[in-house]
């Protein structure tokens, strides 16, 4: 019977092609718009490291001005002072810990023919690579010993290695960076977490860095730091004074394996702040926080307001399209009243009619869904074109989304078809036959 109903549906769709086309277009546009915004939101709020996002914690301490609290007192500062992150680093109370900041430098290639190269860098400590599951093609990250003995080591991104060494295994070679020779210990495979969760202070959707160097180089002024710096107290003259100041510019992550570890670490932080209070620092009420990856992305509002507003609007748009479809289906099915009456008189049961018209609605929904998928694809291309770098890699339709689009189209059209179908099934045959 199913194929028979399908054929009937097809005939009916073709007969009223104008009305059907209108419905398919309406559903297609609704689904296309909704899926475009859903995809953007879904990718913006994706978990960038699902395998261990529960074990990685971002540390916040409230070191700010007692008269003028950071973020109006709603949240503690989003970064730590150099003093605090160095102290936490030395205490080694977590399973793994990493202090980091953004840096930059100029590489002078050995080949005099090549032009010097400005690179974006990350200054971090040894655990960075294992904490964030950074994939390597050659070599590996440096060891904690390298941090302690202040070695000049560097990890290159794949792109930088391609540029400088034509993609070959460069581990063991040296590069001249900011006038000093650095030994290459590893080359990272293509790695671009979206969002770039490990540092969202300079843009959650920025590219990952060209090089990675030990954090101690910043303190020794062997590499220049960049990124955001916030100060509430005057600093003294010179870099040493800056390091000792209350300026925040470092980020601190810890890896903790269990809930118990987390509680212990929080206790450790509280004790640390208590101790610092005795030196006259941390005059605000105690507000230390440990946020796991998703909590951190949430508090930092990584998903743009625009994207959320557009998603809300696109769903309202979808509802308009569905209301439209309900109206048009109603018009279509009621227009067939004489036919329905006749079929009922000839013995068609209500359930037969019901399945037939639901199948017809589903067919329209399916066509609408396919159109919607095409429109969503074009929509995402458009979004990518309009927003440029900001949306790069955020606007792509994966299989999950494609399936969701078609399913959403089917279900919503069937729902939209329920009332018209119900009305069609309740047509009085006698009434219709009388007027024949």
């Amino acid at each position: 019977m199913f194929s028979y109903y399908l054929r009937l549906a097809w005939i009916s769709i073709l007969r009223h092609w104008g009305l059907s086309l209108l419905m398919v277009c309406a559903i297609g546009l609704g689904i296309g718009t909704a899926m475009t915004t859903v995809t953007v939101n879904y990718l913006m709020s994706a978990n960038p490291i699902p395998e261990k996002s529960q074990q990685l914690y971002y540390v916040q301490l409230d070191s700010w001005d007692v008269n003028d609290p950071f973020d109006d007192g709603l949240n503690p500062p989003d970064q730590l002072t150099y003093t605090d992150s160095s102290n936490l680093m030395r205490a080694k109370q977590a399973f793994r810990q990493n202090v980091q900041a953004q840096a930059f430098g100029v590489i002078e290639p050995a080949d005099p023919e090549m032009l010097p190269l400005i690179v974006n860098g990350r200054a971090n400590t040894a655990d960075f690579f294992s904490m964030f599951n950074v994939p390597f093609i050659y070599g590996s990250g440096w060891s904690s010993q390298s941090d302690e003995s202040k070695e000049f080591v560097v990890v290159l991104s794949k792109a930088t290695n391609d540029k400088l060494f034509g993609g070959k295994d460069s581990v063991g070679e040296s590069i001249k960076l900011e006038g000093n020779m650095f030994r290459i210990v590893g080359v990272i495979d293509t790695w671009q977490p979206k969002p770039r969760f490990y540092d969202i202070t300079t843009g959650a959707f920025n590219d990952s860095e060209d090089i990675f160097v030990p954090f101690h180089l910043i303190a020794d002024e062997k590499i220049s730091r960049s990124g955001n710096t916030n100060c509430w107290k005057p600093t003294g003259d010179g870099f040493k004074a800056f390091l000792a100041s209350e300026c925040i510019w470092t980020q601190f992550w810890v890896e903790l394996k269990t809930q118990q570890d987390k509680e212990d670490y929080l206790q450790f932080l509280n004790a640390y702040v208590e101790e610092q209070k005795q030196f006259g620092r941390f005059q605000r009420p105690m507000d230390n926080r440990l946020s796991n990856v998703m909590q951190w992305l949430e508090t930092q509002e990584v998903v743009a307001d625009d994207a959320q507003m557009m998603m809300a609007m696109s769903f309202m748009f979808l509802i308009v399209c569905l209301l439209n479809t309900v109206g048009l289906l109603l018009a279509k099915f009621l227009g067939k009243a004489p036919e329905i009456g006749l079929r009922q008189a000839l013995g068609a049961s209500k359930s037969t009619l019901f399945s037939q018209y639901i199948i017809e609605s589903a067919c329209i929904g399916l066509l609408g869904g396919i159109l919607g998928l095409i429109l969503a694809y074009l929509g995402l291309k458009g979004v990518e074109g309009l927003y440029g770098d900001y949306m790069k890699g955020l606007a792509s339709l994966d299989t999950n989304m494609a399936i969701l689009a078609v399913v959403l189209a089917l279900i919503s059209t069937i729902l939209a078809g329920l009332y018209p179908t119900w009305r069609a099934c309740n047509i009085q045959p006698a009434q219709q036959l009388k007027s024949q």
Binding site: M310, L323, P338
Partner: protein, 404 residues
């Protein structure tokens, strides 16, 4: 209208069809009004004046990597060379570029001391050529003199004795009487005094999303830093021709630095508002498509309504109704349905706006905008029903005599 009662009774018999159209109109109204509001909000942001002579200015980054590089000497040579290039009006070294997204900010306070209220401002470290190079308009006080310019070492924490601020900043510091700012002493870094010697009409901060974007100050510093910008203004219309010339001249003058990112201020503005622009384009498309869908929905349902009432229409025509009366009937019917939808739509628009205000920090919509939505949707409704109504009026009276 005689027909109103008739139409209302007819509508009451076919509630669902009318209700569906009314709901569509209501939702369209809700979305349309709020989307247009969001578009206007962004447009206003984008239209704020940067204060710069945008059409004739560009900048580039100068990154020094040489080990024993005489930054101070090279800076003077560079500036001398650029300023003397034919077609160049003036040039400066600067630490940040308006609207570029990255810069330096400090807070100023009226009194010296630790726990005093302070107002944040963007800092531009420049010399006495800044007003001319950026195309700023000095509306009160005086420019820096050459003797005011100090050399700033990396990591230096003291500030010079003079500053020029924007009018918006002056208004913020001295509400109601910005002109009184001239000659006043303010404190930077909590305790260091600075005298306000001039006020410029406008100069935006590097961050367009910051609520203090109109607050900026010029500080007479030349920086001895390894990375800085040169900001250059050319004679009208000569910018594009001079950009490569200056880039080349600087790049070739010595090999211990990298000249990069030669960028026009216009490009910077465009990049700065890329997101706003993109969102506006998308919202515009949504509003237009939505209106079209609703319009076509009305057409479809009206045609259906007319088809199922062919006989009635024929009968009315046979009984003497004119074509105009038939048309008027359907237009009136649509008007009643639209009114119903629009009333709900007004409520919806305000409700959605309240939600947006609460969740996304937007301001409330204006009455004019709601009125605009009302008028637009009445027009769309009437236009959409025009074709079906005309079709209805063409129905021949003879139809009444036929059975089906």
């Amino acid at each position: 209208m005689l027909e109103t009662g008739l139409i209302l009774r007819a509508l009451a018999r076919n509630k669902i069809g009318a209700l569906l159209i009314a709901l569509q109109i209501a939702l369209t109204m809700t979305i349309m009004v709020n989307a247009i509001f969001m578009i206007q909000d962004r447009q206003q942001q984008m239209q704020r004046e940067s204060g710069l002579d945008e059409a004739n200015t560009f900048y580039l980054t100068n990154t020094i990597f040489g080990q024993n590089y005489n930054i101070q000497a090279h800076l003077q040579t560079d500036l001398h060379m650029i300023r003397n290039t034919p077609g160049v009006v003036d040039a400066i070294q600067i630490n940040a570029v308006p609207l570029s997204g990255s810069g330096w900010s400090m807070a100023l306070q009226h009194e010296s001391g630790e726990d005093k209220d302070a107002v944040g401002s963007a800092i531009y470290m420049v010399d006495d050529h800044a007003i001319n190079s950026m195309g700023l308009e000095l509306i009160a006080g005086a420019n820096f003199k050459q003797a005011d310019i100090e050399l700033r070492k990396d990591g230096q924490s003291t500030w010079p004795a003079k500053t020029i601020i924007t009018k918006a900043f002056a208004e913020n510091l001295y509400p109601g009487d910005w002109q009184s700012a001239i000659g006043k002493t303010v404190y930077i870094s909590q305790t260091q005094p600075m005298q306000i010697i001039g006020v410029v009409k406008a100069l935006q901060a590097p961050w367009n999303g910051w609520n203090g974007v109109e607050r900026s100050m010029l500080v007479p510093f030349q920086r001895e830093a390894k990375g800085s910008y040169y900001f250059i203004r050319t004679e009208a219309g000569r910018r594009d021709e001079l950009m490569p010339i200056i880039e080349k001249a600087l790049a070739q003058s010595d090999k211990e630095r990298i000249i990069r990112r030669v960028t026009t201020v216009e490009e910077t503005r465009e990049r700065s508002y890329l997101q706003q622009n993109a969102t506006n384009k998308i919202l515009t498309t949504v509003v237009i498509t939505l209106t079209l869908i609703t319009g076509f929905g009305i057409v479809g349902l009206a045609i259906f309504g007319i088809n199922s009432r062919t006989k009635q229409i024929g009968t009315r025509r046979a009984l003497g109704a004119t074509k105009g009366q038939i048309m008027r009937y359907f237009m009136m019917e649509n008007f009643i349905i639209s009114t119903f939808g629009i009333v709900i739509g007004c409520v919806g628009a305000v409700a959605l706006n309240m939600w947006l205000v609460n969740n996304f920090n937007l301001s409330p919509i204006s009455v004019e905008l709601v009125a605009f939505g009302v008028v637009t949707l009445f027009i769309v409704g009437q236009l959409a029903v025009l074709y079906p109504a005309r079709k209805a009026s063409m129905i021949a009276p003879a139809i009444a005599t036929r059975t089906v």
